[in-house]
Amino acid sequence: MSFIHINHVTKRYGKQVVLENLDCRVEQGEFITIVGASGCGKTTFLNMLLGTESPSQGSILLEGEPLADEPNEDRGIVFQRYSVFPHMTAIQNVMLSRELEQSRFLGRLVGARKQRVRDEAAAMLESVGLDQALHKYPHQLSGGMQQRLALAQSLIKKPRILLLDEPFGALDPGIRSDMHQLVLALRQEQQLTVFMITHDISEGFFLGTRLWVFDKERIDPHAPEAYGAKITYDIPVGVVDRSTLESIHTNLQ
């Protein structure tokens, strides 16, 4: 049994078919990067994994069980923006998930339990390189640091699937490559299963173990909404020849 089974999933909005009959399996520990033109349903797909949208047909199974149709602890997420809580300092942001699970009514801990969670959070922040910014609010952090914080906040919860929605899209190139190193290191360490949407195909090849390209195979000029996007390429990274790369590149233009 596969870790994740995307079982003949179709997503429609009214008459418009966004995703058409996706069917594939993902094993634990794979890092899947998703590229595709704007509006081809990448984000819709991620939202279905996240649980904010559900398939019109088919189902997504996690270890044989259907995914919950609302966001829960199985899946962690980092968005391009607004991923951290502006009213909490860095360490409070990271402590939050532990506080929520240990104090179901108040969502806050005190005393020794709080101290234990604080130590764990501080270690987590250190591993993403934010040990100098424990008590800063997100607005005092740069964009790259905010995304590091968002990663730390999600990863402390050890989600079974980590979803990344263009997490580095708004960052400078230099910062971005730092973030790549960080993501690779964290993935190694925690054996995460990751889905990441990106616009940057080289980022996709560099980070992923498997690259998916979303594209429409068929377009009916009289009814452009009739056919949805599919996974047109499913490439294990590392075994790819030059011509495939170029044809993907032309397709994405």
């Binding site: 966001p71 968005f79 607004y82 991923s83 809580f85 009213h87 609010y137 997100p138 999600s154």
Partner: protein, 276 residues
């Protein structure tokens, strides 16, 4: 020569320019008052500043012959108490209804139309109803303030709650939060500074309702006193009282702003908070 829109006064010039209209008004008043008093020393419409001082001294620093109270301070205390109760209760109701309306779709479907309908009732029109139902005591004055400003507060809090980015609510759920925990840890703390600014905005109306209620039925309070001495054309009491109410309003607003800056530093650093 720079264009007018690009010329900025320095700090002393700003103060001076800001003070100028006040000085001007004081001068015009003094001139007009002197002119009237020269014609008729018993004129009551524009009393001299010395009459103001005498009136304040009589009300604020001399015990009343009848009750032994210092009327000015007793009036201030009862008005502020009513105002604080009215605004405090309204803010609490605003939170208790505004947050669920903003975050629970079923609550919004259920309560939002009612809140909109209630907010359209002119509060002054139902003042007689309040007097009939709650009597002429403290309660009806507080209730008038509550009815006057609560719908606005609920709607504002509902709106602020809806403005919290969906990403944050999703993130909280992936961190394991249930609805109650999201309200407690994500929504409430972010709505609090917005509640403070909504309260600041509603203080003007709160004063209006307070003074109206006191004018109609009360035995003390700033509004009561103003309307009481109106019978004797006592401008020497009315004008200092009005000035004092203005000052109180200013200090309340100032205190709430400082409180917000101190308690929610994260709110006042982004562009949304800078105007608050």
């Amino acid at each position: 020569m720079k264009k007018l829109i690009n010329q900025h006064p320095g700090k002393p010039a700003r103060w001076l320019l800001g003070l100028l209209p006040f000085l001007l008004i004081a001068m015009i008043y003094t001139g007009a008052s002197n002119a009237r008093l020269a014609e008729n020393p018993n004129d009551k419409l524009l009393p001299a500043f010395s009459s103001f001082v005498a009136a304040i001294d009589r009300l604020a620093f001399t015990p009343s012959k009848r009750s032994g109270e210092y009327l000015f301070w007793a009036d201030t205390a009862s008005s502020l108490k009513r105002l604080a109760m009215g605004v405090g209760i309204s803010a609490a109701i605003g939170l208790v209804f505004g947050i669920p309306n903003g975050i629970v779709p079923y609550a919004r479907a259920n309560l939002s139309p009612l809140v909109v309908a209630v907010s359209l009732i002119p509060p002054m029109a139902i003042l007689p109803v309040l007097f009939i139902v709650f009597g002429l005591g403290e309660l009806s004055k507080v209730v008038l303030i509550v009815i006057g400003i609560t719908p606005f507060l609920i709607r504002d809090i509902q709106q602020r709650t809806l403005e919290i980015p969906a990403e944050q609510l999703i993130k909280a759920q992936t961190l394991g939060a249930n609805t109650w925990q999201i309200v407690l840890r994500v929504v409430l703390p972010q709505v609090m500074p917005r509640l403070l600014s909504a309260v600041r905005l509603s203080l003007g109306s709160a004063w209006l309702f307070l003074i109206a209620a006191e004018a109609i039925a009360a035995t003390d309070g700033l509004g009561y006193r103003i309307f009481l001495v109106r019978r004797y054309l006592s401008m020497d009491v009315i004008l200092p009282y009005v000035l004092w109410i203005t000052l109180l309003a200013f200090f309340l607003d100032f205190a709430l702003r400082k409180l917000s800056l101190w308690a929610f530093p994260w709110f006042h650093t982004d562009e949304r908070g800078s105007d608050a």
